[in-house]
């Protein structure tokens, strides 16, 4: 990362609730261009919820989310559609369309939004599949792929139109350490070679240390952001909950929170 640090996304005072259940409040942070930002926190603290609201799949109860100069919270559906063309998202389950082959899944954004010829699209698809290590598998159905392969397929689809920002929801959850390390490596390579900004939700300590340029840790019980910084800074932070997370410690129930 270079010194200037231009923010591509700015989240301010985000507040989210489901009915009476206030899940996020007081969330403010920036995503800088070209960085890998990791969002971490205990299970159920609202990481996926935060990601869904950065993508404006649901409107928050308060606060703003800016992408460039556009406030997504107040943007129209058409504006959102335009903005989302800059985004690629890898959902927790991969979210491949089960009725299409892997190749058609990856080709879908290109077929819908570009005027590329079918031949070019096919080349593009095999290029992206090659990148995620699924070369030659375009004709398989998602049900014929393992969980890790589905995730990589989802990644290929997310990157097919060269997004500016890639979002990942727990990319390595449920993967074995080797596959998960390979995925981390892929994330780093994509970031370095294509300069894609990345927002990654994860709990995996090895992943965090491997990929994160910066991390923010969400607190449980709508405590806002507990800590923000490089993995090493968080690791040595004085905050008991952050410490416990990074050292895999059990936190005494009635200890400080």
């Amino acid at each position: 990362m270079d010194g200037e640090r231009k923010a591509v996304m700015r989240v301010r005072d985000l507040e989210v609730s489901f009915g009476d259940n206030l899940v996020l409040s007081d969330i403010s942070f920036d995503v800088y261009e070209g960085e890998i930002l990791v969002i971490l926190g205990e299970s159920g603290c609202g990481k996926s919820t935060l990601m869904r609201h950065m993508l404006m799949l649901r409107r928050p109860q308060g606060g703003t989310v800016h992408y460039g100069d556009l406030n997504l919270v107040e943007a129209s559906e058409n504006e959102l559609d335009r903005v989302r063309r800059d985004f690629g998202v890898l959902f927790q389950s991969g979210a491949l369309f089960k009725s299409l082959t892997l190749g058609d899944n990856v080709a879908m954004p290109a077929r819908e939004f570009t005027k590329l010829s079918e031949e070019t699209i096919e080349e593009l698809v095999s290029l992206k599949l090659e990148m995620v290590g699924l070369g030659g598998k375009q004709n398989l159905m998602p049900s014929e792929l393992s969980g890790g392969m589905q995730k990589r397929g989802g990644l290929a689809r997310a990157m097919v139109l060269d997004p500016k920002v890639l979002f990942f929801d727990e990319p390595s959850a449920g993967l074995d350490p080797v596959t998960s390390a390979a995925l981390d490596h892929l994330i780093i390579t994509l970031n370095e070679s294509l300069g894609i900004t990345m927002v990654v939700v994860t709990h995996e300590l090895p992943s965090i240390h491997a990929i994160a340029h910066r991390a923010i840790m969400l607190g449980k019980d709508r405590a806002g952001i507990l800590a923000e910084g490089t993995p090493d800074e968080l690791r040595n932070s004085g905050h008991p909950r952050v410490n416990a997370f990074f050292h895999r410690e059990r936190l005494e129930e009635n200890g400080a929170a």
Binding site: L55, L57, F87, S93, E112
Partner: protein, 361 residues
């Protein structure tokens, strides 16, 4: 004064131990009930539960439970189950207090649900009109596939059911007609009844059962596996992408299925006319031509266009509203059939009144 526990407390003798301990607690009557555990060699989770239960009953009467001489192993178990702290409140959503309140809440829920469902169908209808203005944007390939699924594949069951219903209606009216010597009017009865009501309703009910539910299940599954979110972030809106092709397909198939059902319903009636009422097919068909007006048939077909939007709309709405995993998909599917049939009957009643009121008979 402490009660000395000498035997193990395990799953085998838990109830007996509880009876023993609570009898002791009752007999002493003192504020603090003390147990000496020096001789307790074995205790399992059921045993812990016994003490927890005793503690809650005592707490209820503002009394306390205490232990003496707790062996090390038992102490660890006690710590694990947080014996020293007051037991946690079990979190429950505050239940509405009385039945009346519950009925009111259910009614409100149902009302809300109906409103948002009808709102959704309204919005989808607008999108449908919009898509007729820009037919290039419609995914015709999907439309063809759904026409096949909702229409062609439904022909056997629609034909069979309609024929059987025509048969049953004709059979049950045959006796009365014979009493008045009005055998020939079987053609009027079947012709008008089937073309106006039985045909459209049979076709619609089978569409709800076969396709409305399938829409809810398909879209619901896509919803819970994040496919809908994936579509949205790719800029492909679920309504034009998933809903509109299904609605156009049912708009094509339901009127055709209705005519098909009309035909088989009448054929069923004709069989009974021949065998129970001695009305030959030739006479039946001739009479049918005199009795049934074009309006009878076209009003039924016209209704089916509305039913098609309603049924596909409900199915898709239920799918889009799905949450809560595989169980949620099941719930949505059931709901799509229940609210589909409910709305169908309401809509049909409105048509009956409307036609009557407009003098279209």
């Amino acid at each position: 004064m402490a009660h000395t526990v000498t035997h193990p407390i395990t799953i085998e003798n838990a109830e007996k131990s509880y009876a023993e301990f609570s009898a002791y607690a009752r007999d002493t009557g003192s504020e603090t009930v003390v147990f000496d555990l020096a001789g307790l060699e074995e205790i399992d989770s059921a045993g812990l539960a016994v003490f927890h239960r005793l503690q809650s009953t005592l707490e209820h009467d503002n009394r306390r439970l205490e232990f003496e001489n707790i062996p090390e192993r038992v102490r660890q178990l006690f710590e694990l189950s947080h014996f020293d702290e007051p037991s946690d409140e079990i979190e429950t959503p505050p239940p509405p207090k009385n039945e009346l309140e519950r009925i009111g809440l259910i009614a409100l829920d149902t009302w809300q649900d109906m409103r948002s469902m009808l709102g959704y169908i309204g919005r989808v209808t607008l999108a449908l009109i919009w898509s007729f203005k820009y037919p290039k944007k419609v995914r015709w390939g999907d439309v063809v596939r759904y026409v096949q699924e909702t229409g062609a594949n439904a022909l056997p069951i629609v034909g069979l059911m309609s024929a059987l219903v025509g048969l049953v209606i004709a059979f049950s009216s045959a006796i009365q007609l014979k009493q008045f010597g009005a055998n020939i009017f079987i053609a009027d009865l079947i012709g008008i009844g089937v073309s106006r009501e039985i045909g459209p309703l049979m076709a619609a009910i089978l569409l709800i059962a076969r396709s409305g539910s399938a829409f809810a299940a398909e879209i619901g599954t896509q919803k819970i596996s994040e496919e809908i979110d994936a579509l949205t972030v790719m800029g492909l809106k679920p309504v034009p992408y998933l809903v509109i092709p299904r609605i156009i397909a049912t708009l094509i198939t339901l009127p055709l299925l209705t005519i098909f059902a009309d035909f088989f319903g009448v054929a069923g009636g004709m069989v009974i006319a021949q065998f129970s009422l001695d009305v030959s097919p030739t006479i039946f068909v001739t009479r049918l031509g005199e009795a049934v007006s074009l309006w009878d048939i076209s009003s039924g077909v016209m209704k089916s266009f509305f039913f098609a939007i309603l049924i596909a709309g409900v199915g898709c709405y239920r799918g889009m509203e799905t949450s809560g995993g595989a169980m949620g998909v099941g719930r949505s599917t059931t709901q799509s059939v229940v609210s589909g049939i409910f709305l169908l009957v309401i809509a049909d009643s409105i048509f009956v009144v409307l036609f009557q009121y407009l003098g279209l008979n």
